[in-house]
Symmetry: C2
Subunit: 316 residues, 2 copies
């Protein structure tokens, strides 16, 4: 794989650097749930104590996975569920992940129009001191149309950040609207066409743009179709693991160099100790379950996808 | 107008009660912006001070409009733009509006799948002590499909709350995907059909359901079409005022009793002192500009729409 010099001011360049350094497209989703936290972590059922426990749990997960993966994806909903105390915890988790040199993709599925979209972009996009939340990227929903997405791209480009626009989501009901066929193409392909235009316009040294697309592992044929139709668009793939997608299902989402896609696993990693193969690591050893599940996911992708062509870091 | 007994446990019933009590479908949007705040309100440009100013400003707007209108609609983006301090301010603004007997529609345009959608619903839906944010309703984006919307409806129904699903948005670029024609109908009509099914299933004593739809004043023909196609669906109408829509443009969105629609004005009311006809009320008299702009909007809707058939409360 030969790449030109990568910029630390371009999101896709930064993502590629981090993935090459770690040798894996694995992305760890942080979806904390009170009922699944390790024993002893929850002082009480008050929102304040749950928020404190989410922060502690997520930061300990980050400690385990930071040497292994390129990025984390906190899910805003579970933090917002706790009210303002949860929002404070989310900001701390993002800050902690960034301090550990992880790229942080905030999963907020935000969208709005005009200056309101610009406010969301200003809120979440921009690592370091350039935004109050400090995300490297944000997920964005496309229903509101082109002028709801371009304000996010402007801010992303100015700050070396990125966005991932929902294209083909992993849930069973996603097809209700996304698969409707207009002018010979399903809706998700119309969205994909617009996203690819923006990605092409914003591409960096790797050929990938500051705009990516969300496409679920639960639809392998569509992943292959989208990889072909969106050559400049990085794919963020949910639906692996707990939702049923396998590494083989994701194989077509990668380019020949093992790049072009990042694959999320949330509870399959963070709550690995609830899965039968790691249940011997429940309780005091829960971090070992997190580490082993992460290593197993990395190995599965190296075996079954072109991600095996990424350099293998020593120790992984 | 003859209605059966209205329930205080059903969102549309509660909305109708409040609208009849105030005699207007006017909805005041709270979209605070630092550069538009009245002089002297902003202590510094720190996020903490801006958040404090947003809270103070919005609460003072609420003091003015609470006797006049049924509901307010804070825009989450402008609060989130300030990081966690803004989230705390948003929660306080919602709490203050509820204490003033206003219905609070949180404009967050949230969406996600399965248990994540349920987490957003749990976060925002439920007045009083039943949710951490305490909203009476939340705006929801439909791209993720049917199983991304039904979790919101379950929580809404259990808590006497509501949701408004984006159908035909007010922005120029909204048509990019919403107007794509599949099976003889534009996408927004497919979304409308699903929303109407849910509204019919959840209807209360007024015939309107716990699920409403967002449809912009900037598309008057589509408003008329949607009113006809969605007889059980309350319409939340943005795009009036600053975006160009008039009361006459909204007329077809109402039923014969002056019900069925609620019309938002944000900066046209909160920052009325920036408009030429109210500029004499800038500075120390900014609250008078807010009051006058609200009364002018109410009068315009009573003149140009069937909302004139609502009882006229004394003093308005």
């Amino acid at each position: 794989m030969v790449l030109g010099p990568l910029s630390d001011q371009h999101f896709a360049d930064r993502l590629v650097s981090a993935i090459i350094r770690k040798g894996t497209p694995a992305l760890v989703g942080l979806d904390p749930r009170a009922q699944s936290l390790p024993p002893g972590m929850l002082a009480s059922q008050s929102p304040h104590d749950i928020a404190a426990a989410y922060q502690k749990f997520c930061c300990e997960v980050i400690d385990v996975v930071a040497p292994l993966v390129a990025a984390i994806k906190p899910q805003a909903a579970f933090f917002e569920q706790l009210g303002p105390a949860g929002c404070t915890a989310l900001a701390e988790v993002i800050r902690y992940g960034a301090a550990k040199q992880l790229l942080v993709i905030v999963d907020g599925k935000r969208n709005d129009i005009g200056t309101t979209a610009a406010a969301y972009a200003d809120a979440y996009l921009g690592p370091g001191d350039s935004s109050p939340w400090g995300g490297d990227a944000l997920t964005v929903s496309p229903y509101l149309g082109d002028d709801s997405i371009t304000p996010f791209l402007s801010t992303a480009q100015a700050r070396g950040a990125g966005i991932f626009v929902l294209v083909k989501t992993s849930n069973p009901g996603g097809g209700r609207f996304q698969d409707l066929v207009a002018d010979g193409l399903p809706l998700y392909r119309h969205v994909a066409r617009f996203v690819e235009e923006l990605a092409d316009q914003s591409k960096g040294a790797t050929g990938y743009g500051s705009v990516g697309a969300v496409a679920g592992a639960t639809y392998p044929e569509q992943l292959a179709e989208l990889r072909f139709a969106m050559p400049h668009t990085w794919l963020l793939i949910p639906g692996y693991g707990a939702q049923g997608g396998t590494a083989a299902d994701c194989a077509a989402a990668f380019d020949d160099a093992g790049l072009g896609a990042i694959v999320n696993s949330s509870r399959g990693i963070t709550f690995a100790y609830e899965r039968s193969q790691y249940s011997h690591l429940a309780g005091a050893h829960w971090q070992q379950a997190v580490e082993q599940a992460t290593r197993d996911m990395i190995a599965e992708f190296r075996t079954h996808t072109s991600a095996g062509r990424l350099p293998s870091p020593s120790g992984n």
